[in-house]
């Protein structure tokens, strides 16, 4: 059992607080992704879990044992670094064998275990090479190989794919997901790429300024973002956030005036929102359709084939982005109508907290 619990972890460097009361319960064999903008504290949190950095306060519990003061090896973790951190003077074999050499494992045993790791990672014919003779993807696999020979309970990855080109990143994403399934281990994965987060994670932790914004499955975050920050961060292209004024609050929801005087009634729980308040209405580009509603002037069209990502401005200068069908007959400079699907729209109050949607779809998966 390798559950990983973080209890009220805080971290300060000198007078700057970079992590605030992080509370997290990760299940056995779960693939959890930490995602957030640069500098939000993802690496720091991962390094605290690894034991490379000491938390200023809080407890780390792995598999039910408090390991807050334990050595990384005793925590049962292993870590893959962003720069791979391969030993350039050692062969691939010795790189993978390094943790076993430290343990003074018998030679025969060591050979079988390195051999098995190399097989899983398709490195068998590369064992005699030095890291400098490998491609980026192969180096990444060696770094992963070094982390799996020790059979750790928890794997930690710090942006392992960020040095690779886009195509290779796609391949490695699939490989890592497969590896997770075949190893049956708990994995914590740090990235600032929301596509990686959405595609690989069982659950995603969205971090912002050292705080957890939300912890949930990818589709939960997509359909039920708890805050404006999560809504803007998850989903590609980013969600449109339109300023709106509340016209009335009724039993069927909130009626609001959008830029260009479009009036919509959103089926959400009003919470503390009152008539006359400013709110923000969040609409995903893929939910906008060609129908009466908002009037936008098209500035840029990105035709991707299947869809045309359309960037425009609303009256008053608010930018809007819509994912329209691939062959939509619209040109740059045209004025188009964009219908707001009220059931798919989100509303956020002034503090950035979401107003609960009543008609949200069932979450798949």
């Amino acid at each position: 059992m390798a559950t990983l619990d973080l209890n009220n972890i805080s971290k300060s460097f000198g007078n700057t607080r970079v992590l605030h009361d992080i509370d997290l319960a990760i299940r056995d064999k779960e693939f959890v992704v930490f995602v957030g903008p640069s500098g939000c504290g993802k690496s720091t949190l991962l390094r605290i879990i690894a034991g490379l950095e000491e938390a200023s306060a809080g407890k780390i519990v792995i598999g039910g044992t408090d390991v807050s003061n334990a050595h990384p090896v005793d925590r049962g973790i292993s870590m893959v670094f962003q720069s791979y951190a391969l030993y350039p003077h050692l062969t691939v074999f010795e790189n993978i064998a390094f943790p076993l050499r430290v343990q003074k494992l018998a030679d025969a045993d060591l050979r079988t275990r390195v051999g098995r790791a190399a097989e899983i990672l398709q490195l068998t014919d590369k064992l005699d090479l030095k890291p400098g003779q490998l491609s980026g993807g192969q180096r990444q696999r060696v770094a992963i190989g070094r982390s799996i020979v020790r059979n750790p309970k928890v794997f930690l990855f710090d942006e392992p794919l960020s040095n690779l080109d886009a195509a290779l990143r796609g391949d490695m994403r699939v490989e890592l997901s497969q590896l997770h399934r075949s190893l049956d281990a708990t994995m914590v994965y740090v990235t600032h790429d929301q596509v990686e987060a959405m595609t690989m994670a069982d659950r995603i932790v969205v971090l912002n300024k050292g705080r957890i914004e939300q912890f949930g499955t990818p589709m939960e975050l997509y359909h039920h973002p708890a805050t404006k920050f999560v809504a803007g961060f998850i989903g590609q292209p980013n969600m449109n956030l339109l300023p709106a004024t509340v016209k009335s609050v009724t039993s069927s929801g909130i009626t609001a005036v959008l830029p260009g005087d479009a009036v919509v009634t959103l089926p959400v729980e009003p919470g503390t929102v009152r008539q006359g308040d400013q709110i923000e209405v969040g609409i995903r580009p893929e939910d906008l359709v060609a129908a009466k509603g908002l009037r936008a002037t098209v500035q840029v069209m990105e035709r991707l084939g299947g869809v045309s990502i359309t960037y425009g401005v609303l009256p008053g200068g608010t930018r809007i982005c819509a994912a329209l069908p691939g062959d939509t007959p619209v040109r740059e400079g045209d004025t188009i109508d964009l219908g707001v699907p009220v059931d798919a729209a989100h509303a956020f109050d002034q503090s950035g907290a979401v107003l609960r949607r009543r008609n949200a779809p069932q979450i798949a998966g």
Binding site: A50, L52, P72, V73, I77, S78, M79, F98, V102
Partner: protein
């Protein structure tokens, strides 16, 4: 690498290099010329740059004039090698500590090391003499080795520390996460990666040790068999005359083994400047 220089720039560079090399190598050339000529030609006026009776006679005669010459040369190499070895044994862990660990008075102690280096050995000769006498080390090899080590440690630490700092920290963190101790990491990761830097530092320590042994030898040792070459060479200064040609021949012969070593190490020295490209 791209050819970044125009023809004229190249000519300029080569002229500058030639001027520099002439300046550095001319004394050696002069030594060699003197060593080839009979003694009475050296003192002739007007001075003649060229003569027709060059010979290697001095290279034979010197072993007879100063019977211990071979011993002196070996002593020199022995002392410089011992100084270098001991210095490196101290400098490697110290430089690593300064490069990676946090401890009180780190910056100040580093500055003090450099400050101590500003005093040349000459200023400290008398206190050093008393120390060595108290320890009973006068007139032994140790009298020339220990002060040499002491004076070379600070520069060694400064040089090696900056090299070690360039080794990516993540490599050591990876080793730490995999359970390696500091000493294991130093031995299996840091030192192998620092080899080019170690060669550069060892070379400069060796040169320093070679250069400073004269002072310590004449001050702390009057045992003939222990004298290094720079001190032993004084035996060519006779009551009547100085046999300059033999002295120069002996000096060149004494430097020769060291020169050969450096010729061999040269490719590492140059590699040392470009290696360490650990990750892109």
């Amino acid at each position: 690498m791209m050819d970044r220089y125009t023809f004229l720039q190249k000519v300029g560079i080569y002229i500058a290099i030639a001027a520099f090399l002439t300046f550095v190598l001319l004394p050696f050339f002069e030594m060699f010329r003197v060593s080839l000529r009979p003694l009475d030609h050296l003192m002739s006026t007007p001075f003649r740059f060229w003569s027709d009776d060059f010979s290697f006679a001095a290279y034979k005669q010197m072993w007879i004039s100063v019977p211990l010459l071979g011993r002196y040369i070996l002593n020199s190499i022995f002392i410089a090698t011992s100084v270098t070895t001991l210095t490196m044994i101290v400098v490697i862990p110290a430089a690593y500590a300064y490069a990676r660990l946090q401890f009180p008075f780190k910056a100040i102690s580093l500055a003090v090391f450099l400050g101590v280096n500003m005093f040349t050995g000459a200023v400290l000769l008398i206190p050093l003499y008393r120390v060595l006498r108290t320890l009973g080390l006068l007139n032994t090899y140790w009298a020339m080795i220990i002060p040499g080590v002491a004076f070379l440690i600070p520069t060694g630490i400064w040089l090696l520390r900056s090299y070690l700092e360039k080794i990516p920290r993540e490599l050591e963190e990876a080793a730490y996460v995999d359970g390696a101790s500091r000493m294991y990491t130093l031995r299996r990761v840091v030192i192998p990666l620092a080899v080019p830097g170690l060669i550069v530092v060892a070379t400069s320590v060796f040169i320093g040790a070679y250069a400073q042994q004269f002072l310590f030898a004449i001050a702390f040792n009057n045992q003939r068999e222990y004298q290094p070459l720079p001190a032993g060479i004084f035996e060519f200064v006779g009551y009547q005359q100085v046999t300059w040609n033999e002295m120069m021949a002996a000096s060149l012969t004494g430097i020769l083994p060291v020169m050969l070593i450096f010729l061999f190490l040269q490719k590492y020295l140059i590699a040392g400047l470009t290696a360490g490209a650990v990750k892109e």
